[in-house]
Assembly symmetry: C2
Homo-oligomer: 203 residues x 2
Amino acid sequence: MTAKGISTEENILNVAREVFMRNGYSGTTMQQIADEAGINKSLLHYYYRSKEKLFGQIFAEVFSQFIPELGKIFMTDKSLEEKIRAFVDSYIEGFIRNPLIPIFVMQELSTNPQHLADLIRKSGIDPEMVIKMISESLKKEDLNIQDPRQFMVNMIGLCVFPFAAQPLIQRLIFNNDEKAYSKFLLERKHEVSEFLLNAIRKG
Amino acid sequence: MTAKGISTEENILNVAREVFMRNGYSGTTMQQIADEAGINKSLLHYYYRSKEKLFGQIFAEVFSQFIPELGKIFMTDKSLEEKIRAFVDSYIEGFIRNPLIPIFVMQELSTNPQHLADLIRKSGIDPEMVIKMISESLKKEDLNIQDPRQFMVNMIGLCVFPFAAQPLIQRLIFNNDEKAYSKFLLERKHEVSEFLLNAIRKG
DNA sequence: TATATTTTTGTCCAATTGGTTAAACCAAAA
DNA sequence: TTTTGGTTTAACCAATTGGACAAAAATATA
């Protein structure tokens, strides 16, 4: 038990999540995690047998926050316009709460793509089915969408990119004004939805 | 001199660039670079005094390939439509040739934002000036662009994201079909331009 | 209380880390 | 041929790495 009434096990997980997300797998040492958690290094191995196991658990959890619940939102009977607004809003909101998710997940999958296969297998969901379902839902309405896959990448990319590139954008476009950048991110919920809807409007 | 008539110094740089881009700074060891370059570890330190120096040189070079030459393209007297097409085309083309650039640069700047300050200072260019110039150029024509900064992030994000998220998209949307994904990326040059132009068309 | 059980720590380990140094090598100049 | 300069190597270093292990401390159970 720590001061806050949190179990040691949970405390380790919280600290490790933070450090791993900040510095990546190889940029993080077990000693570092132990120090920041205020415990002995051996205790890490007591609860989570190895660095890989600890990281694996954290990555799986963060990964599930990155993969959008496209299926759920696009299976409702709302209009496509409403679906897009709902998705963009909740997806961006999630990253505002935890801005490191995108770069952490994408970087790890870039150097270690085989993690992906494991995670998909464990999740049990069938990506192809979900994609097909959404594609159908996109084609249904009379909109200017030639390739649903391109549109999905556009939609997700517009949400994700500003977080992955935060330091760059904040410095180059906002002269390192953190407040201004936060405001920019909030405004993006509206901006991205409108942008997407304009782009697929027929005429 | 190596077999290909390339100097040892240059060969080290090429190998190091590849390894660093694949595994990041802390995921790379000097031994690894030495092995892949077919030389002794001491030789690395002979040519590039330290790991940091070697990495710094490589990062500066790759970074300059990531920062789009927005200024150049948007200062011409083409129409905005032509400018956008020209930019998207050349920017995406560059990443097709070297797909690891985006994730490498964004990841490094995420864990080490102070690199950015140094690089900008060394480059001598004034980001604020460039941004202002482009903003003006975007406002000139009668288009549906409320905030030029949002539009710039949209444009760059649509180009960059598919490369940063390549493993994910390739697996989830293209069932790991590399060929299909390459085709998708090629088609994106046209897709992104059209998408952007549709989105800012008035009416 | 005394006895298990769980949690935490200190100590140790082999391997690897980035880096140094002196010696060996080798082609070209003298 | 000897000398000179840059190049390459082997040996070595202190520090750090992830991890093992048993003792100790704390807690639960009897």
